[in-house]
């Protein structure tokens, strides 16, 4: 299926902005190369179709059960605490700054949590069901992790799933026993950081209830990884999580030197990494390895984790006239006009006994935000509709005194819920507006909506056909703000 034309151009533009001057040094696909890559990927997907589970709206492919931790991630109830930034390894794919010698304080979602009690208050307040510890190398902060785990278990009991990541460099039996006693459920090893060595993995598997391997799918390591799969199974590995490599300012040069192809996606995912992951899934199924393997693509994280983040903060910033979309954004609908005419609209709402909290007149009295249920009272041959999508998020520092909502975690700690403007568009055509209502509010069948749209759109000259198609593309694009995308992302 082809991507929305507007979405594709936005992705390309955002990727160019994100990569800046480095864009020219990176390898990108031409139209024909993208088509060929798509064909090859479809072949791979066909080869594993029916033998894999497609989870979370087709965003995650797995050959078996997911770890309970991965389930909390997909459900949007996972918090990852980055306990420090220093590391014992120097992996070429690390998206973090490895040159810095200064360690970072523990943060989750960019919010500082240097006090375990505050962190547990945060977990409790936002009803997290899964917690992980990452870094840098988390075992450099081993004592700290132990304290956090003990505090979590003491206050939240067994109802929360806890795991930690490690490259295995600092793992020993004593630490593993202590972590087990503190209540760690799972330990995940990045064995790619230690040339696929499984010694510490096997050691941990004899102590910690669940031991998994979580590594990026590295194209050059395909053969090594293939050979490693049965050894992982024998060592007691419960799950293999294969990540898609993605570029950052710290690793893109290494990726470019390896000849990787960057994709126009959030976080510049690597094409060859996706292909490698799919080939590993195919191989494992063909050879009946029996190890549950899941592919965690960049877009899965972008779609599902972002949705989780937005939904967490949404109740604190959502106004009654706004609407939460399936993908986690807040949608606001508004009309602009002279104050008198907007007040006439308000009169109509009052006559129909609509709750006053369902509309809002802005400071200048020139923009009236309305709940979606009030659209039926507005004559859109006389008004345009302004659609705004905002991303709710939590912050540790207040960005705007007027709009930030304070959330008290405890007597000493306050967080702030905010919403950032993501996209705003004015719809002038009543036919497009009806299409938007049917697609995004009434959630009618696409084909039915577009058939009506094409039938009703006013066409006086051939030039109107282009306008109609532009409006049609806009409707496709609006859907990307409304609904969680499904399946692997388009290649371009």
């Amino acid at each position: 299926m082809a991507p929305s034309k507007i979405k594709k151009s936005v992705d390309i533009q955002c990727t160019r902005e994100f990569t800046g001057w480095a864009y020219a040094d990176m390898k990108w696909l031409s139209e024909s190369e993208a088509k060929e890559a798509d064909r090859k990927r479809n072949e791979l997907l066909k080869s594993i179709s029916g033998k894999v589970e497609s989870l979370f709206n087709g965003n995650k492919i797995s050959t078996g059960l997911l770890s309970p931790g991965c389930m909390t991630c997909g459900q949007g109830t996972w918090s990852c605490l980055f306990v420090g930034s220093l590391c014992t390894a120097n992996c070429f794919y690390c998206p973090q700054d490895r040159k810095t010698k200064k360690d970072a304080q523990p943060t989750a979602n960019g919010i500082l949590f240097d006090n375990p009690e505050d962190y547990v208050d945060y977990l409790e307040k936002f009803k997290f069901t899964g917690v992980s510890f990452s870094g840098g190398e988390p075992f450099l902060q081993y004592e700290k992790i132990l304290t956090y785990i003990k505090t979590i278990r003491a206050r939240l009991g067994k109802g929360i799933y806890i795991w930690a990541y490690t490259n295995g460099d600092l793992v020993d039996e004593k630490k593993l026993h202590a972590l087990k006693a503190a209540g760690l459920n799972e330990l995940r090893f990045d064995i790619a950081a230690r040339k696929y060595d499984l010694k510490t993995v096997a050691m941990a598997a004899g102590i910690i209830k669940k031991v998994s391997v979580e590594i990026p799918a590295i194209p050059e390591d395909f053969e090594i990884l293939k050979k490693c799969l049965p050894r992982m199974k024998a060592a007691g590995v419960a799950h293999l999580n294969l990540h898609q490599l993605h570029g950052s300012q710290y690793c893109y040069k290494q990726f470019a030197a390896r000849g990787y192809t960057f994709l126009h996606q959030p976080e510049t995912a690597i094409l060859e990494s996706e292909m490698t992951a799919l080939k590993i899934l195919h191989y494992a199924l063909e050879k009946n390895i029996g190890l549950p393997i899941n592919y965690c693509c960049v877009m899965y994280k972008h779609r599902l984790q972002k949705k989780g983040c937005m939904e967490r903060s949404q109740p604190f910033v959502k106004e009654d006239y706004e609407w939460p979309t399936e993908s986690g954004f807040l949608r606001r609908l508004a009309v602009q006009d002279k104050t008198a005419r907007l007040k006439d609209l308000v009169k109509i709402f009052c006559e129909h006994k609509c709750p006053a909290r369902f509309w809002h007149l802005d400071k200048n009295n020139t923009e009236l935000s309305v709940h979606q249920s009030l659209l039926k009272y507005i004559d859109f041959t006389k008004h345009d509709l302004i659609i705004t999508y905002c991303a709710p998020h939590l912050a540790g520092i207040c960005a705007d005194d007027e709009t930030s909502k304070r959330i008290a975690l405890n007597a000493n700690r306050i967080l702030f819920a905010e919403k950032a403007l993501e996209y705003r568009i004015k719809i002038k055509s009543p036919v497009t507006l009806k299409g938007f209502q049917e697609l995004c509010i009434e959630k009618k069948n696409d084909r039915e909506v577009f058939k009506r749209f094409y039938t009703d759109y006013p066409l006086k000259t051939k030039a109107d056909i282009d306008k109609m198609m532009q409006e049609r593309n806009l409707l496709d694009y609006l859907k990307t703000w409304e609904f969680i995308g499904s399946g692997l992302y388009d290649i371009y």
């Binding site: 299926m1 082809a2 991507p3 929305s4 034309k5 696409d446 084909r447 577009f450 058939k451 094409y454 039938t455 066409l459 006086k460 000259t461 051939k462 109107d464 056909i465 109609m468 198609m469 049609r472 593309n473 496709d476």
Partner: protein, 103 residues
């Protein structure tokens, strides 16, 4: 290798295609999702195309349509047959026709 469409084949305009008239032209728009696949772009029919298209009713075979047109335009059927074949092939490629029956 190009396969010729059998003359007894019957075709119809599928329900996902919207036909719109602009002055003397007819525009066919497939409602497949999403819209910006090149195959899903609107297709403007020329005058002969409009005439053939109106006859693709899900009942008449290509042979019947060719015979009708031969009488209507006083042109040998073998000349018209080629145009009809080409036109149907184009519409099929663009997802604007469906096969109903025939060989």
């Amino acid at each position: 290798m190009k396969t010729e469409i059998a003359s007894d084949a019957v075709f119809a305009v599928p329900d996902w295609v919207v036909a719109r008239a602009i002055k003397h032209d007819t525009i066919l728009i497939p409602c497949a999702f999403p819209a910006d696949d090149t195959e899903n772009e609107p297709y403007i029919l020329n005058t002969p195309g409009q005439i053939i298209w109106q006859k693709l009713d899900g009942i008449k075979s290509l042979k019947d349509i060719t015979a009708d047109l031969a009488v209507e335009f006083k042109t040998p059927a073998r000349v018209i047959e080629k145009d009809v074949q080409e036109f149907v092939e184009t519409l099929l490629k663009k997802n604007l026709l469906v096969f109903v029956s025939g060989t």
